[in-house]
């Protein structure tokens, strides 16, 4: 074990002990229950932060600083994918040219979800492949970037895929530096950092994620849980396809069982809607019911799903046919009688010969038959279909449950027993959003995607993952819940300074003796882990963007459970026309800052008039000052005008 890792582990143990000691004492001995309305939220928020800290400690416990990988074996086939939707053509082409120039032999493809003829012409003129959605996607769910990649997976055949966003310009050695990891047969994915070239050193928008693309990913890597982050990653095609097939079988199995399980009540309801004299339809529905029971028994007896569903559908088709035959027989009889009437009246008899067997064939088709007209039956039969009628392609290797396809995909890969690696070397130069609005949109999108995965495929419930892997995924999700804690942390000092209500029983020696050491070792852990990488900006934004985090949770909850729209937006990569600082985007933060300043003034006046204690007020004013220092970044961000790095553009 390296000395660095040893130091980290010692501090992690200390943080854990001191943290649990403090929070346990808070719950057991120092909650000011009389002021429960602020005391309980505060102690809950503190518990949240403790859990966050413990999960961070667990992540760091096995920090993995990988040595250089083996050299890239010769002769691997590689496809480089550049995913684009609406980015400017010159930006896409700059990335594509760099991709084409990669040293290791490969083929380069632009995956153009915007289906732009101009881009196609530019790409093909330079010998770069161009792929857009195939005809199967018409009228089907598009699944954004995941759909774009899934479409391209079926149109190409390289053993390995380098995935790039349109604004991530790869360095020539990216494949040489990463393909070597795949000499491990179970290695599915190698993620490299996302690093942005258009960001000044002080990074006002907090674009660089030096702690995430570094110690955090290295820590997750130690537990074999390094995430896929959507770009700058190399993936083994076989792993993705296996994932797609496994998911397909799972989803079909679950879908067929669910459909058959609910079928009985569905048919019974349809049957109740029939009039008393519609005996023929009632009889047909009874037959369908019988066949549902038979299909379930066949499945229970181990019948292959495809065989069982095929037989079931054939039998339903037969029932359709009988119904249509009965209807057409009645039509024939009626027409014969009408012809008789016409003959009596001396008119030309109506032609019957036209009504032949072909009509029967047409009407027996599911969509046209009487049973097909009963919506519930039609829906049921479609659900028991195994070709996934509601999707463009049955095999969807990249997860489509979230607006950010990456995290869910790597979680599923880990569930299948694959390994991933985090390679801590910048091998692509990206472009970060250059204005506040784009930045906020991007952060919201990431947070929403993470929350969607938490709600749809909670890692804690994934039985095929090791416990530590589950916790590594959960840790990232947990950190996005910080918006709610932030509100409490802002409210507590404001309430004390303005109203004199203290959420803890006393600001005593025993309080500070427990809190301060915990805070100190916690910060010490950050310092040691970061090893010189800047962390203050990240800490500022994790608090200052609290409205974004809260919205991500509520909107993802609404989307997953209430089927509401997520207001999904593609991150803009272009600089917006500047029209002065966008204060309107950060109104909650500005209000918070005003509130903090105001309450500090009120608190000082109360001390002056003898209405408040000096120690409590001083402590809370320091707290307010810290919050203001954190929130000050918002003002800089709103005034930020972008950055022109040397030698670019």
């Amino acid at each position: 074990m390296s000395r660095r890792l040893l130091a980290i582990r010692v501090i992690v143990v200390l943080t854990t002990l001191l943290g649990i000691n403090y929070v346990a004492w808070r719950w057991l001995f120092s909650v000011h229950w009389a002021a429960w309305w602020i005391a309980v939220p505060l102690v809950v928020a503190e518990t949240y932060s403790l859990v966050d800290s413990l999960l961070f400690g667990l992540t760091m416990w096995r920090l993995k600083e990988r040595p250089d990988p083996p050299p890239a074996p010769a002769g691997l086939s590689v496809d480089v994918f550049i995913a684009t939707y609406n980015e400017p053509l010159d930006l896409v082409m700059r990335t594509a040219r760099a991709a084409k120039a990669l040293r290791y032999p490969h083929r380069t493809w632009i995956l153009d979800d915007g289906d732009r003829a101009e881009l196609r012409a530019m790409a093909e003129a330079e010998g770069i492949g161009w792929i857009t959605r195939s005809a199967e996607w018409a009228g089907m769910p598009r699944h954004a970037k995941a759909g774009n990649l899934n479409n391209a997976l079926l149109a190409t055949e390289g053993e390995f895929l380098l995935i790039l966003d349109a604004d991530q310009v790869p360095l020539p050695e990216i494949l040489d530096r990463t393909l070597g990891y795949f000499t491990d047969d179970r290695m599915a994915l190698v993620q490299t950092p996302q690093w942005f070239v258009n960001v000044p050193d002080d990074d006002p928008l907090g674009s660089q994620a030096p702690l995430f693309y570094g110690p955090i990913q290295q820590g997750k890597d130690g537990w074999n849980a390094a995430f896929f982050c959507g770009s700058n990653a190399v993936i083994r095609r076989e792993a993705l396809m296996q994932l797609g097939v496994a998911r397909y079988v799972d989803e079909v199995t679950v879908g067929v069982h669910r459909a058959l399980r609910t079928a009985r009540s569905v048919i019974n309801r349809a049957r109740r809607e029939l009039g008393p004299d519609e005996a023929n339809v009632a009889r047909a529905l009874d037959q369908v019911l019988y066949d549902i029971g038979r299909a379930r028994r066949e499945l229970a007896a181990g019948g292959a799903i495809f065989d069982v569903t095929y037989r079931f559908q054939r039998r339903v088709d037969g029932i359709h046919r009988e119904l249509v035959e009965a209807d057409l027989r009645a039509v024939h009889e009626d027409l014969a009688e009408i012809a008789g009437l016409d003959a009596l009246a001396g008119a030309e008899p109506a032609g019957l010969a036209g009504l032949d067997e072909s009509a029967l064939g047409v009407l027996t088709h599911r969509d046209w038959s009487p049973l097909g007209a009963v919506d519930t039956v039609r829906a049921l039969v479609a659900a028991i279909d195994v070709d996934r009628a509601g999707e463009a392609q049955p095999i969807m290797p990249l997860a489509t449950i979230s607006v950010t396809e990456d995290m869910a995909t790597s979680m599923r890969l880990h569930g299948l027993g694959w390994r991933t690696a985090y390679h801590d070397e910048v091998l692509a130069h990206g472009l970060a959003p250059e204005d506040l609005e784009s930045m906020l949109t991007q952060r919201l999108r990431w947070a929403q995607g993470t929350m969607q995965v938490m709600f749809r495929e909670n890692p804690l419930l994934q039985r095929r993952l090791a416990w530590t892997q589950r916790l590594m995924y959960f840790a990232t999700m947990w950190s996005y819940l910080s918006g709610f804690a932030a509100v409490v942390y802002i409210a507590a000092p404001v309430i004390y300074l303005c109203l004199g209500v203290l959420p803890v029983t006393a600001l005593s020696v025993s309080f500070f003796a427990r809190l301060v050491p915990f805070l100190v070792v916690n910060q010490l852990l950050f310092v040691v882990v970061a090893a010189g990488r800047p962390t203050w900006r990240g800490q500022q934004y994790s608090l200052a963007l609290f409205p974004v985090w809260i919205r991500s949770v509520t909107s993802a909850f609404g989307n997953v459970f209430l089927h509401r729209d997520l207001d999904f937006a593609v991150t803009p990569k272009e600089r917006r026309a500047s029209t002065g600082p966008r204060w309107d985007l950060v109104r909650p933060q500005l209000a918070v800052m005003a509130l903090l300043v105001g309450s500090a003034v009120v608190g000082l006046v109360r001390v002056e008039r003898g209405d408040a204690h000096l120690l409590g007020t001083a402590f809370n004013v320091v707290w307010v000052a810290f919050d203001l220092a954190v929130f000050s970044i918002i003002i800089r961000a709103a005034r930020y005008r972008g950055h022109q790095p040397e030698g670019l553009r």
């Binding site: 009626d334 027409l335 009688e337 009408i338 009437l341 009504l355 009509a359 009407l363 046209w368 049973l371």
Partner: protein
């Protein structure tokens, strides 16, 4: 799901306009409606199918049964303004050879 609008046109002609899907579940009402109108003395009927979005074999059966009822009472049943979906079924089954659709409701009994 479906509505049948009934109105009385000129010259004692009744117009039925099914709005929605004429299916196995709803065809029975169409058949009954026609029978009631014929029994009530209006044996000349126009079925305005401009807003009929779907017609299955039961719906077809109801129309032919209605035709029979009307003819037996000395009247007739004509189909007017079939929607695209209805036209397709009529053509597929060759019923249009028996029950020629008319282009307008008012002119359905002109020829």
């Amino acid at each position: 799901m479906i509505e049948y609008d009934v109105s009385n046109g000129e010259d004692g002609i009744s117009v039925i306009a099914p709005r929605g899907r004429v299916t196995v579940v709803t065809a029975r009402r169409l058949k009954d409606l026609i029978a009631e109108l014929v029994a009530g003395g209006s044996a000349r009927l126009v079925i305005d199918m401009s807003e009929t979005t779907f017609l299955d074999s039961s719906g077809l059966g109801a129309l032919i049964a209605g035709l029979k009822t009307a003819r037996q009472a000395g009247g007739d049943l004509r189909i007017a303004r079939p929607s695209e979906a209805v036209q397709m079924v009529l053509e597929m089954t060759n019923i249009d050879k028996v029950l020629q659709p008319r282009e307008s409701v008012t002119g359905a009994f002109d020829a």
